[in-house]
């Protein structure tokens, strides 16, 4: 009999401690030792997370901070889903780091923080109540900023500060709501369908709604929603590529997870439906979808373009959440996974290009497909996924999102939503595919004389290909995943009040 509770604790404590331990170890002359240690820790944590996927339930009360504030970890389907995505992306981006980090300094520090953030993310996924989640949300910010400023250039440090202060701003906005939730909730534990105490709330409806709204807006900072998205295009591109991949693929999903928790596990969809919160979230997310794509389309630096694309794609997820119906939520959750894999692969490809050629701007990438065919093939496949061309992952999630919007019956948005999604998909094609097209078809005037194929390291190409395959698999065989997601949406929308 496996003790799942212990594994639950281990899944976040182990990478955390092994990261801290890495600080204590002397800098190795042979970088393989550091990497072997990191790799082993990553894989062990991944295995722990995989075991947890098969757990029925696990609940651990770690410590009581004070009466009413417990640090509790409880494994539920949403948490499992999140932890599953995290471990896949984190391990693959970790392997990519092995080659990539060769040309950066302070490798040991990078890997240490990389492991610590992994632990914190597992804690975030497994958090069983609002306070625990808030705590790990803060830890996530505090432990991930060293990844952003890793190269310590002026630009990176400034971006890291921007990241920190935006994140704290959001977190404290959420904390404001959290304080009030203590009064108006039956408990702060996450229960599908919400825990608002109707009796306590009567007479204070507006206050409660404002507080819920503040919590959602606060957590949406991490998810890069307009108007507090500005940190994202600054912070993600300056980090080392594997860290950008992890940040853009996963950390932003921490914000999404927090919003999911607030809307479906604390407030409850019925409280929010039809109120200004829903309309605000719908409007802002659609604005962000369009604006992000537009900005990405205009941006010339590849990594920045990808960061803007994250801004846009994240709001697809938020849009689906704001629809407050099972189809929309299914689309959101699918897109969470699809976007995590795709964006990670895109950033890794950008990293591989920078590492091997030093090119950062899109217009420098003519003929890149001839030089690095493996990487650009991977890039192309996931790009198609992000645009939403069947049978890739993006298609199925966008299909759910659109059908959720159409069936929601919310005036205006049920049509406006799919239209904006469609326009944004076109823009996505517009900003992603030029790399492929110019890469493979550089045109007549391309200098074939100086052309030579670059051999990409196995550690670089492998994660990109695996992620590309994963993104296609989601699209081709979505049934397993939708069934799993069905169990999440089922418990949220059926239990109700």
């Amino acid at each position: 009999m496996i003790n799942f509770n212990m594994i639950l604790i281990a899944s976040f404590l182990f990478p955390l401690l092994s990261g801290v331990l890495l600080f204590a170890i002397k800098e190795q002359a042979d970088r393989k030792v550091t990497f072997a240690y990191t790799g082993l820790s990553l894989v062990i944590t991944g295995v722990l997370n995989m075991i947890l996927l098969f757990a029925d339930s696990a609940e651990v009360k770690l410590i009581t901070l004070m009466n009413g504030i417990d640090i509790v970890f409880r494994l539920d389907t949403l948490g499992k889903y999140f932890m599953g995505i995290v471990s896949l992306v984190w391990i693959l981006a970790g392997f990519f780091s092995y080659t990539y980090m060769k040309h950066e300094k302070n490798e040991k520090r990078y890997f240490a923080y990389y492991l610590i953030v992994f632990g914190v993310l597992n804690g975030l996924g497994a958090a069983g109540n609002l306070i625990t989640m808030y705590a790990f949300y803060e830890f996530m910010t505090l432990s991930s900023f060293p990844l952003v400023l890793h190269n310590q250039k002026k630009e990176s440090v400034m971006a890291a500060l921007k990241y920190l202060f935006y994140s704290f701003f959001g977190a404290y906005m959420a904390l404001f709501g959290l304080f009030f939730m203590c009064r108006y909730c039956r408990t702060l534990d996450f229960i599908p369908g919400g825990v608002i105490d109707q009796v306590a709330m009567s007479g204070h409806e507006t206050l409660v709604l404002v507080c819920i709204c503040l919590m959602i807006m606060g957590f949406s900072v991490k998810a890069g929603m307009f108007p507090l998205h500005a940190w994202l295009p600054a912070a993600h591109p300056v980090a080392p590529a594997p860290a950008s991949a992890a940040l853009s693929g996963i950390i932003v999903k921490g914000g999404v997870l927090a919003i999911l928790r607030v809307i479906f596990y604390i407030a409850g969809p019925e409280i929010i439906r039809g109120t200004f919160i829903q309309y605000l979230l719908l409007t802002l997310s659609l604005v962000t979808v369009f604006m992000g794509s537009m900005l990405a389309y205009r941006e010339k630096v590849l990594k920045k373009r990808l960061a803007y694309s994250t801004v846009s794609q994240l709001s697809y997820i938020l849009f689906g959440i704001a629809l407050l119906n099972p189809a929309g939520l299914t689309g959101s959750l699918l897109h969470m996974a699809a976007h995590a894999f795709i964006k990670c692969a895109l950033f890794l490809s950008a990293g591989a290009i920078i590492f091997n050629t030093g090119c950062t701007r899109v217009d420098e990438l003519r003929g890149i497909g001839k030089k690095m065919p493996g990487v650009i093939w991977g890039y192309t496949i996931v790009s198609l996924g992000l645009i939403g061309i069947p049978p890739t992952g993006g298609f199925i999630s966008k299909w759910y999102l659109a059908s959720g919007a159409l069936s929601s019956g919310i005036k205006g948005f049920s049509y406006a939503g799919p239209i904006v999604l469609l326009i944004s998909a076109l823009l996505t094609a517009g900003y992603l595919l030029p790399v492929t097209i110019n890469g493979f078809f550089p045109g007549d005037d391309y200098d074939y004389e100086n052309h030579k194929t670059i051999k990409t390291s196995f550690y670089m190409i492998m994660p990109i290909i695996v992620l590309a395959i994963l993104s296609v698999l989601i699209g081709m065989f979505p049934n397993g995943l939708t069934e799993f997601i069905g169990s999440i949406t089922g418990e949220i929308f059926n239990t109700g009040f």
Binding site: L65, M66, E138, F165, F168, Y172
Partner: protein, 491 residues
């Protein structure tokens, strides 16, 4: 006879410290042992006293009528005296290293130790007159500490300190007279000594006098607009700024305000009045004002001093919520802030002592050279920001919850101010931390190759403080239970 310990713990450090300049011990080592012995013996006596916590009170001397200097131990006294007696030996220990470079050490330590007794006097006073007496005395004995370096800057600061404090005391005096004349008793009584009905016609006078005396005692608690002395007084040696201007003196102000509100006027009498809204608005404004000034300030110690201004108003905000929960929050922050701020000040002191650098922008790359100091500083910064798991989160949580349950819209705004201040705290602390640990990539560590951590005399107190910050953050419940008992008048 434990009851005699009441005056002894107050008078012993005052009288013994007079010996410090004249005692015939030649070696520096000897004199430090002598001072440390006084402080530790007194702290042990205080703990013994608090443990026994006698019910009777002890009258030291009587002036006339019901004006008497009387000591008594109740819950509030236990908290403040316990806090002070815990911090003093450690701070004194730290000072031995810090004061090495400074002149006329013995005079410094004389006044430093004397302040210990006076602060205990404030903590253990059983009526408003004794408290006022020791409050004035505190101003007098701490002025030489501010003036210590005898530079023009220090003299100016001391002058400002005196004017502000004395002026504040004059306002507080009005309140004192009022309480003594109209109160049913001059002793501190939970729930207040003014029977509301008597003042039905002149209730606004009562409110006005409350506001006056709040602002009067608030001078020491550095409430805006009378907070200017605190950042200025940062010219004093670090042990003074750390212990007196982050704990003993300023917390005496906050403590006096608590006594005034809950034990003299009575929270029930004031709740919902314009007086409450006025003082609460002042404290909310100060919360934001202090933090904003801290962000602007580039001198490390002055930045921390502005941070103190803001944090003291957290305590005052808790007091002005005027519910038992508010008092719990205020007491929690009184204790938590003491540890957090003394820690960050001592780190700043360690930096100044080792390198003589005072400004934030001079601290590039120090994280690698002074790893212990900066690790500790980082913990204190996180605690001040309110990262869960550390002391600051617990106290802010309690303050905010008190505000949420108060049904007072201004208090809701106060919660917003707390969080606004938290983000500003993040800004002024993180700019230091990032600079120290992650300097620009072209930074040359050769330029600071002589920088190193201080020795154990400085590190040991810091380590103990950090452990306390963690304990207060992870297991504060026993302490909070005690605060709840105090706040409902059971202790």
């Amino acid at each position: 006879m434990i009851i005699y310990l009441l005056p002894i713990t107050v008078l012993f450090p005052i009288l013994a410290s007079v010996l410090i300049p004249v005692v015939p011990i030649k070696s520096r080592r000897g004199i430090t042992w002598f001072i440390e012995a006084i402080v530790i013996v007194n702290s042990i006596l205080v703990w013994y006293l608090l443990w026994g916590s006698p019910d009777q009170s002890f009258t030291l001397f009587k002036f006339t009528g019901n004006l008497s200097v009387t000591f008594h131990i109740d819950g509030m006294a236990t908290v403040f005296a316990g806090l002070v007696s815990f911090l003093w030996p450690l701070a004194t220990f730290y000072s031995f290293e810090y004061m090495k470079h400074e002149e006329h050490e013995r005079v410094f330590f004389m006044f430093y130790t004397m302040t210990y007794g006076v602060t205990l006097g404030i903590a253990m006073s059983s009526n408003i007159f004794s408290m006022y007496f020791f409050y004035e005395l505190l101003t007098i004995v701490t002025t030489p500490l501010v003036i210590h370096t005898l530079k023009k800057e220090a003299v100016d600061a001391a002058r400002k300190y005196i004017y502000y404090s004395m002026g504040g005391a004059a306002f507080a005096f009005i309140g004192m007279v009022f309480i003594i004349l109209y109160g049913t008793t001059a002793d501190f009584t939970y729930g207040g000594v003014l029977a509301g009905g008597t003042f039905a016609r002149n209730i606004n006078v009562l409110y006005l006098i409350y506001v006056f005396s709040f602002m009067g005692f608030g001078v020491k608690a550095a409430i805006w607009p009378v907070c200017g002395w605190l950042p200025k007084a940062g010219v004093a040696p670090t042990p003074v700024t750390a212990l007196l201007h982050a704990v003993a003196v300023v917390k005496s102000g906050a403590f006096a305000v608590m006594r005034l509100t809950y034990y003299c006027f009575g929270a029930d009498l004031l709740r919902g009045s314009w007086a409450q809204y006025t003082v609460m608005a002042f404290s909310i404004f100060t919360i934001v004002y202090g933090c904003s000034m801290a962000v602007k300030e580039r001198h490390l110690k002055r930045r921390l001093a502005y941070s103190t201004v803001s944090n003291l108003s957290y305590i005052l905000f808790g007091v002005t919520i005027m519910t038992p929960l508010g008092l719990v929050g205020a007491l929690a922050h009184l204790v938590a802030h003491a540890f957090m701020k003394i820690t960050s000040f001592f780190c700043a002191g360690a930096i100044m002592y080792k390198t003589g650098r005072n400004y934030v922008y001079e601290l590039d790359g120090f994280g690698r050279k002074m790893p212990k100091t900066f690790a500790i500083f980082t913990v204190s910064a996180f605690a001040l920001m309110g990262v869960p798991g550390l002391a600051g989160f617990i106290s802010k949580y309690n303050l905010a919850i008190a505000a949420v349950y108060s049904d007072n819209v201004l208090a809701y705004i106060g919660v917003g101010a707390l969080l606004c201040s938290a983000i500003l705290t993040a800004i002024y602390m993180f700019t230091i931390i990032i600079r120290a640990f992650f300097p620009r990539d072209d930074f040359d560590y050769e330029t600071i190759k002589d920088v190193e951590d201080p020795n154990y005399i400085m590190i040991l107190p810091l380590t103990i403080f950090v452990i306390v910050i963690f304990i207060l953050g992870l297991h504060p419940q026993p302490l909070l239970d005690m605060f709840v008992k105090i706040a409902v008048g059971n202790l």
